[in-house]
Amino acid sequence: MTENLHLLLPEILLASLAIVVLCMDLVLPKRCKSFLAWISVIGLCGILALSLALLRGEEQLLYGGLVRADAYSLYFKVLFLVLGGVFILSSADYVKKQLESPGEFYAIVLLAILAMIILASAVELLTAYIALELMSFSFYTMVAYARNNPKSNEAGVKYILIGAFSSAILLYGISLLYTAIGVTRFGEIEAELAAAARVTPILWIGLGLILVGLAFKIAAVPFHMWAPDTYEGAPLPVTALLSVGSKVAAFALILRLVSQAFAPSIDQWQILVAVLAAITMTVGNVVAIPQKNYKRLLAYSSMGQVGYMLLGIAALSSISAEALLLYLVGYSITAMVVFVGLIAFFNMTGSEEIHDLGGLADSHPFIAASIAIGLLSLAGLPFFAGFTIKFYLFTAAATQGFLWLAGLGMVNSLISLYYYLMVVRQMYIEPAPKWAQEGDTTHHLVQEGQASENSSYTSQSTLITVILTLLLLGVFFIGVYPFPLMGAIKAASNAIMPMS
């Protein structure tokens, strides 16, 4: 067993990095805390390079079939490590200004990234459950991290309660499944399901509860009640990680779970997932229309995105898997563009209202353009990643007989375009709000319990500009020429669906 320990080296190093950051937080003097962000990022880069060097072409089951090192897990490992680096760098300013104890914050972020990576490689239900819990607990802490902000506390409490509830459902589902067929490894579940003459009620309920538990984690309607409040209350970078990282990680697990374990009983769950997808995308996009707070808007809009992703699960096949893998990357980059742009805006103004975005195109053209490009990409307009990934996903779903659902997805894209355009309009057409014209940011920052400087916007950070530029390049790259990515995607998809 020890001979293939090197395959787990990235995970081990990542856990160690989290502990190192936690310990250094004790030692470092207060003014040097921002080093911790850089240490985390450098560590992540090192682990990324190591993973690429060690794991390429590996395909092994480890530890008696608990986790699997293959192209699929490597694909997500790279994605999450990059996402983690981008996230830490873009939130560095925010953390310094708004949050206490940055050291613990970065350590928890690293643990969340670790959990996401394990989620993508887990091939056994309990391992997956533990990874999911590690991720959830990291998020519980992060959501409530702004200790002095009652909204953040409220969000944390709601999230913990619903999170614990959904974990219980998931665990109950797993135990029922175990009762019925006596195994928890994906490969064995698949064999048992394929061999079973008919699906017994207990098995059916088990499968259903597992799906419901996971639906809670990805905030699929009608299991979404926690999401808007949690997203709104959480500190802005945490909202970003919650709506990008946690969802992509959950889908990494779900895609592997349905293709490697639940595939034989596809007739039982396929229509459920399709209906879930239809409701989720419609409710998410329609309810987003009247939102005034951009965090809430993005909460609902990411719910709509989850609906599209579920479409890829419902239309399970190798082409859908490829489409979904591309979609997850494209969505991550696009959503990060929007969030990083908004973090930059928040750092300068302290406002979370869409209304206050007025005049941003005049005062900060680059940030406004980034947010606009991100939003239009989310709406699926061409030249940006959103168009390519949606076209691919909808085509893939249509080839599996889900043309109606793909059509519904397109109608939803139209609805989403409306509320995204309202934000774009606010930035590009409407004048700046009074407080910005008069050079007074205090009334917002006082609400946050923070001191402010006496200019209309505080200065824009170069670091964020650099990150935004890189992310935008990613958005254009996937939108215009995703070809180089397809090799990795095909390999990942082959790893979970060898029959193609």
């Binding site: 082409i319 490829e322 239009l376 307009l381 061409p382 030249f383 168009f387 076209f391 691919y392 909808f394 085509t395 249509a398 080839t399 043309l403 793909a406 059509g407 397109m410 109608v411 894209s413 139209l414 375009l417 409306y418 355009l421 774009v424 309009r425 590009y428 057409i429 020429y481 995703p482 070809f483 397809m486």
Partner: protein, 507 residues
């Protein structure tokens, strides 16, 4: 020359696109440099389109200037493949001319000059893209790309209209236009994917228009499939072409838009819709098209009559032109729906002629509005005394619009009417009545706005500036040349139409 032929079409996309990207890095404080750069690129692009058009060999026909780049491998099989035939060649030329004229007319843009030209360039490159690709994915890609910049272009640089009891703000116009067009493109999108799935079931998963065309002739798309999905293309693309009753975005959008954008939009973008119906709907789903053509011809007739009658009731100059566009696009639908060589050729020629004519209209209205800040017919009067050239330009556009022989509108309308008369006599009569109404409102407009006594408050007005004269006289030249000597254009169009109508063997 072969080298040029293989990259020429790519140049039409790349030149404006590259210019837009380059302009994005220009310093904001130098509007003149930005305008000059845009004009130079616009001129080059126009020259390229003229060369492309003149090199198109109508004796050979079919797709020429072919080039192809692999974009995505299996399973989607998408190529960026370029090529133009007898129908798209005139459209490319039209886009080139109007783009350059639009840039010249936009010389008076002072507010956020850089952003305007960046967006304008992206818009144009999307339009070129639609006309020169031979792949459904990229056709849709560029189609959406051409819609996208309209929202900021209208919302930021547009103008609002106040009607006393209600107002049509530029934000309203921009949002309405964007949502209508994207709603149309949703229908197109559904149908494109349905076509792909049907092709895949036939064993040929591809987005290539040529391959799809070939398998369509081999019966890949069943009668029911065609009947079900042709209306998706007809209505989806029809929205952009101003098909009644989905036309309401068009007057509001055109009125709210700044002059150059109105020119591009009414002049070229609406043709994208009609082009989409021809290129995708009629070519790939011919027997579905045959079934739906009676509906299309009735809708087209309503377009002609309704547009003309509503135009008569307008007081705002731009609304008159906007509704006259709706009316004229009706002739395009009618011509297409005849499936008769005369009618379809007339429709394509009408697309070209209307493009130039509307651009001329909007350019002239833009000059007037720039000087007077008024577009109300009842307030304006006797402008010809102070703005002789502008009045001339507007009059030429008006005469083209009402179909005066010797101008391009006449040739196109006669062809369409001849086509319609062969098949649907009553509708043809209605359409001729529509054309007569056009004469009424155009002549009334001319007499009120330009002739008659001038009010003292308009005494200070100045006539068109050199750049504006350059832009408009170019368009006038187009209208006159096509009117007097339509043969070169007709040869090219006929070669394309003949090929299209081979898909309809029964007729």
């Amino acid at each position: 020359m072969d080298d040029f032929k293989s990259i020429a079409l790519f140049l039409t996309i790349l030149l404006p696109f590259g210019a837009g990207t380059t302009l994005a890095f220009f310093p904001r404080k130098q509007p003149t440099a930005i305008k000059v750069f845009a004009a130079v690129v616009g001129f080059l692009t126009m020259i390229v389109t003229i060369i492309i058009f003149s090199l198109y060999d109508y004796n050979v026909g079919g797709y020429q200037f072919i080039n192809s780049y692999r974009w995505l491998e299996d399973p989607l099989n998408i190529d960026l493949s370029l090529g133009i035939d007898g129908i798209s060649a005139p459209m490319v030329l039209l886009t080139g001319i109007i783009m350059f004229a639009g840039i010249l007319v936009a010389w008076n843009i002072e507010h956020r000059t850089k952003d305007f030209f960046v967006l304008f360039m992206f818009l144009v490159s999307g339009v070129f893209g639609v006309f020169v690709v031979r792949d459904l994915f990229f056709l849709f890609f560029f189609y959406e790309l051409a819609v996208l910049p309209m929202f900021p272009l209208i919302g930021v640089w547009g103008s609002s209209s106040d009607f006393g009891s209600f107002a049509r703000t530029k934000e309203y116009g921009a949002m309405k236009l964007t949502l209508y067009l994207v709603a149309g493109s949703v229908l197109v999108w559904v149908a494109i994917i349905a076509v792909y799935v049907a092709a895949k079931d036939f064993g040929v998963p591809t987005f290539s228009l040529e391959t799809l065309n070939a398998i369509s002739q081999n019966g890949a798309f069943s009668q029911n499939f065609q009947r079900l999905f042709f209306p998706f293309f007809m209505v989806g693309f029809g929205v952009l072409a101003g098909l009644w009753p989905f036309h309401t975005w068009s007057p509001d959008g055109h009125v709210a838009a700044p002059t150059a954008v109105s020119m591009i939009h009414a002049g070229v973008l609406m043709k994208l819709g009609a082009y989409g119906i021809i290129r995708v709907g009629m070519t790939l789903l011919p027997s579905g098209a045959e079934d739906w053509m009676p509906i299309l011809i009735v809708l087209g007739t309503i377009n002609v009559l309704y547009g003309a009658i509503v135009a008569m009731a307008q007081r705002d100059l731009k609304y008159v032109v906007g509704y006259s566009s709706v009316s004229h696009m009706g002739l395009v639908f009618m011509g297409l729906a005849t499936l008769h060589p005369l009618g379809v050729s007339g429709a394509v020629l009408q697309m070209f002629s209307h493009g130039i004519m509307t651009a001329l209209f909007f350019a002239a209205v833009g000059i007037i509005y720039d000087r007077t800040h008024v577009r109300d017919i009842t307030i304006l009067g006797g402008l010809a005394k102070r703005m002789g050239l502008t009045a001339t330009f507007f009059t030429i556009a008006g005469l083209t619009s009402l179909g005066l022989p010797g101008l391009s509108g006449f040739v196109a309308e006669v062809l369409v009417f001849m086509g319609v008369f062969q098949e649907h006599m009553p509708l043809a009569i209605l359409a001729v009545i529509g054309a007569a109404i056009t004469a009424v409102y155009i002549l009334r407009l001319l007499s009120r706005v330009f002739f008659g006594p001038i009010e003292p408050k308009w005494d200070h007005l100045t006539d068109a500036r050199p750049v504006e004269i350059g832009a408009t006289s170019m368009l006038v030249l187009g209208v006159v040349v096509v009117g007097v000597w339509p043969l070169p254009l007709m040869n090219v169009i006929n070669s394309g139409v003949a090929e299209l109508l081979m898909r309809f063997p029964v007729l």
